[in-house]
Symmetry: C2
Subunit: 637 residues, 2 copies
């Protein structure tokens, strides 16, 4: 049987059948795979059945349609339910459900990823789907200006993650009435009851206090769920909606209902058979609910507005790109702000976010030039990266900035962004001990290691304003997660306007046939390398100097050449010794497979305190004197 | 003038003088340093003045007294205020305030750290002081059973961090009436207004919804502040208290009051002079409020209970340590649970926390054996690490566990734990693609890089049950941040009971004079290395096999010996290629300074999906076949 309802005409009786099918298929797919979470889907099956038959406006034949609603399974472990829904709308086959789930090379992974065209973001690290949804809703309201809604299914356990509250805070601040959160309050987590159990009113008070409209329902009363979903579209209310649905884990199969023993376990075949029988047997219904071109169910949304529409912010006359005089003292963070303004003028898809430090990162320059495309995330770095992820889902190119140190707050979100395959440009300012008096809490000393370890990432660390502009431009078209590390202080411009800085390249700033040692730096240490080379030259030691502005990928060939030519390398970085620039250089040298040079690695090996920038660079042993001294010892033996 | 009040006899008129002094000194110290945040302290000076004169029970001559209240400056940038308070109670001199602030090698750092004996935890990454305070309050109520209170001063900006709400959620769940949060609602962040501005009632609704008692006051009305602080000690109320104080940034100096232009800026000398004049001039009052041995101000706390008292949980008869039969298949995560139970029996200071996955990490074994010392943190990894930090402040030895992947959620807290100098034992299970069908969201593939980059950290990665037990034991006395990586699946026990596993060591499991290649693994890849060695032996290639269970520090000598003896190394790890085991081996080889061997580094270079453990290890190229093949190519050239 196939039902298609262009105008939400599918009745609740059919929704009930769909719900039974979603449960049956959750059981069948997980049992077939021998792994998975059937009971976590069974609690939410009624929510999904009502949603997909009567409220989700989605053209299943065109998942890329910009008018489609978005559906995010924040409780990603309930993937059997989501995949059952995909079968119910006819986009995957029963065969794929039964033989593709959780298998190698298949797209029906243990937790959903965008390997499936109907999945926007990878979930499975809890508390991320809703924050991602905030980003999509921001795009819908402020950039696309399309009436699509964002529906997010959360588990109750994940409401313990602070990121959920960062998300609701921003959703209410930005008046995201287009965001509807469904919470499947089945009271049981992985190992036992949640801290609030079935106290749906307590959740409702929290959601209301955070500026959302909370609706409490019995999650197995289809009419009540339907009413709540309809109410979520009240055009008079600018608040995001949170529907708190009291549900029963394993609902529909009495052997496991509300049981603490069946989290994350597929049923053995005989048990699955009993479950399917109790649930009314296999069904192979195909149903499609409202399409985005149809009139909205409540009639309150303008129907003329649902077609795909380009972003309304048109490219403006690009301002003249900043040019910097050679030798002028300019912080790279300032050059980043300058570059972003120009980039934003050239490319209307570029958007920017910041964690309440835009006057430090210089993102404020973009905010001033392109206020419609700037989103202040306040001090909520997780939400900042998640919002960037959601904006990227809608085809925008987000640049998200804060202090390098504080990007550590969002590492799980960055990691998951890589799993989602989104293109994010992250910018961390105030790198290393160079920042001086503020002390170690503000010093990014782990960021290079953290960002290099992200799958498919690009890590850039410019030393001057000219290269910063070029690399900021380059980031705008890089795939995956890219990271730009900027520095607090002012350092001389080294490169003339127009110089090119390919990602994966480096610059050899000093070179001769008599070079006895190679000095490799990036950011502030590049300037120290140059000063060290000058000092060494005065002693008759010629040093090659490499600006390793592209830390990942790194310029293997140039580093290998320098190693071969000089046989000695000093690499200096304003970062802890593990995983950063020095590590990248060593990886490169060893991967080369040839004889490796003598190498001294200068890095921040102690725990810094306050001090001036100059004092701390000396204290850490990464200033010109220490670099020269290390080089001298290598050369003189 | 010196006033000491054993029984909170200091009047509000004196508190007002203290407040003026705190403001003056905030101005003076930051101007003297040429850096700092005077205005962010001026808004909270009245709160601190009332607190220190009348409510904070603290023996300033004995900061290590277990009976002292705790005071945490969560808004760490207001350090001039805290240091002014330390001067006001006579523990630092005016000279130190004027010449030590933000200078190299001095203890009055830009943001407070425990370099000062009155500071429990480093702050400066916002939204961490309150979560840390929850840990201290947990210790007070459940372990120390002492009536000390924990007072935390938060800024309003940092209430945007989700971690604040994780903290209040846990504080109310654990009924931490001993925790009082003061929020300095001065409405201005670094770059502009906060998202809620002066809407203190909105904050109050949020705090109440999260289970706290919220008290709203004018933060410059000393009597009102005093009343609220007294009310916070109501013995009939088990809720944590949040005092929301409406304040004015820069209060007391009209030129900067409520101004958006003076965040994080010291006043120039002439301006500082005007400020000091307007604030009534320099003062050098020394005041001390109630001591912990004195009767509490409200008389409601039992006075017999205030002396230092050891933890009440006595060592029990240690259960027989688990012994594992050689060759038996045991997951290392299970061995971790077994070890922790025994450790907990031996050492009553050992406590455990978990992020709602204790049945996966096996922390549940500790929870069952020592329920009084187990704290369920639900799905709130930031709070889990922060609570561990607070427990460590009180002298406990916390073991905090979750999936390795989800420790990325807490990276900022781990990093700050290192700045605080606390001893934390972190345990990440479900490392790498080995976990199989759950997919990449659940796979720890960045954790080794992340943990190695933490200052002073120890990183351990055992391959079998026996070594896991030994390393878990070792962790209990390691300084700083230590990390144990465990594996999901069952692998054979390799070592007999009683074998020793020193941190910084490794085990050579296969060795001969004819070894042509060295295979280095840890965790699951060590088993693959052993299988590869067997396969190679069948072809006449002898391979040395090293179990590199201590990734940081690494056994430089043994690795150098193996490199020298065999000239060829294959290192295989279930982790992304950057910053993990391979990186540690390469760092070690290059630091050795001798000719480096030919090296092949096998790691997870693609983005994994679902599959079986065996399939995914093969897909990633880190199983026995791939290791043997890499070794074969190295040997045969």
């Amino acid at each position: 049987m196939t039902l298609t309802a262009p105008t939400a005409a599918i009745g609740l009786d059919t929704a009930a059948e769909v719900a039974a099918q979603l449960r049956v298929d959750s059981v069948r797919s997980s049992t077939s795979a021998g792994s998975g979470h059937p009971t976590s889907g069974m609690s939410a099956a009624d929510l999904f059945a009502v949603l997909v038959t009567r409220h989700l406006r989605y053209d299943w034949d065109d998942p890329r349609s910009p008018a489609n609603d978005h559906l995010i399974l924040s409780k990603g472990h309930a993937s059997p339910l989501l995949y059952a829904l995909f079968k119910a709308v006819g986009v995957i086959s029963d065969d794929e459900l039964m033989h593709g789930y959780r298998r190698l090379g298949q797209r029906l992974q243990g937790h959903p990823t965008p390997a499936l065209p109907w999945v926007d973001v990878a979930t499975g690290s809890l508390g991320q789907g809703l924050p991602d949804g905030v980003g999509i809703a921001l795009a819908g309201k402020y950039l696309d200006k399309l009436p699509y809604r964002v529906w997010v299914l959360c588990g109750d356990s994940e409401l313990a993650e602070g990121s959920i509250w960062e998300a609701l805070d921003k959703a209410s601040y930005y008046r995201l009435a287009n965001l509807v959160t469904l919470v499947d309050v089945n009271r049981l987590g992985q190992r036992g009851p949640t801290d609030l159990g079935w106290d749906v009113d307590a959740y409702a008070r929290r959601a209301e206090a955070f500026g959302a409209r909370a609706l409490v329902v019995d999650g197995h009363d289809l009419a009540a769920v339907d009413d709540a979903m309809a109410a979520a579209q009240d055009p008079a209310d600018e608040r995001p909606t949170v529907i708190l649905a009291r549900t029963v884990k394993g609902r529909g199969f009495r052997e496991v209902e509300d049981s603490n023993d069946w989290h994350g376990k597929p049923f053995p075949p005989d048990m699955a058979e009993r479950a399917v029988r109790e649930l009314g047997g296999e069904r192979h219904l195909t149903v499609r609910g409202p399409r985005p071109t149809a009139a909205p169910t409540d009639g309150s949304r303008p129907t003329s507005d649902v077609a795909a529409r380009p972003v309304t912010t048109e490219p403006t006359e690009p301002p003249t790109p900043a040019r910097y005089d050679l030798g002028a003292a300019v912080p790279t963070r300032k050059a980043y702000g300058d570059a972003l303004v120009v980039l934003g003028a050239r490319n209307p898809r570029v958007v920017a976010l910041d964690g309440e430090v835009s006057n430090s990162t210089y993102a404020f320059e973009f905010a001033r030039a392109h206020p419609d495309r700037y989103f202040e995330m306040f001090i909520a770095e997780q939400q900042m990266v998640a919002a960037a992820t959601g904006l990227a889902v809608r085809g925008y190119r987000p640049f998200a900035s804060t202090f390098a140190a504080f990007l550590t707050r969002a590492y799980d979100f960055i990691r998951m962004g890589a799993v989602s395959g989104v293109d994010l440009c992250l910018v961390g300012s105030h790198a290393g001990v160079e920042i001086g008096p503020d002390g170690p809490s503000q010093m990014g000393l782990e960021d290079l290691a953290m960002m290099r370890a992200v799958h498919g990432s690009t890590v850039l660390y410019p030393s001057d304003a000219t290269s910063t502009v070029a690399l900021t431009d380059a980031m705008a078209t890089l795939p995956g997660i890219s990271y730009l590390r900027t520095t607090r202080g002012k350092y001389p411009v080294l490169y003339a306007d127009g110089e090119s800085f390919p990602v994966g390249g480096c610059k050899v700033l000093r070179s001769s046939d008599e070079d006895a040692v190679t000095l490799i730096g990036a950011g502030v240490t590049l300037h120290a390398c140059l000063a060290a080379a000058d000092a060494l030259a005065g002693e008759g030691i010629r040093a090659r100097v490499i600006d390793c502005y592209s830390v990942k990928p790194i310029d293997d060939a140039t580093i290998a050449d320098a190693a071969a030519a000089t046989g000695r390398i000093v690499v200096a970085e304003d970062h802890h010794p593990e995983g950063g620039l020095g590590s990248a250089v060593k990886d490169s040298l060893i991967a080369g497979g040839r004889a490796t040079p003598s190498l001294v690695h200068l890095a921040v090996r102690g725990m810094p305190g306050s001090g001036s920038s100059k004092e701390l660079l000396a204290w850490a042993g990464i200033d010109a004197d220490h670099i020269a001294s290390a080089a001298r010892q290598l050369v003189r033996g």
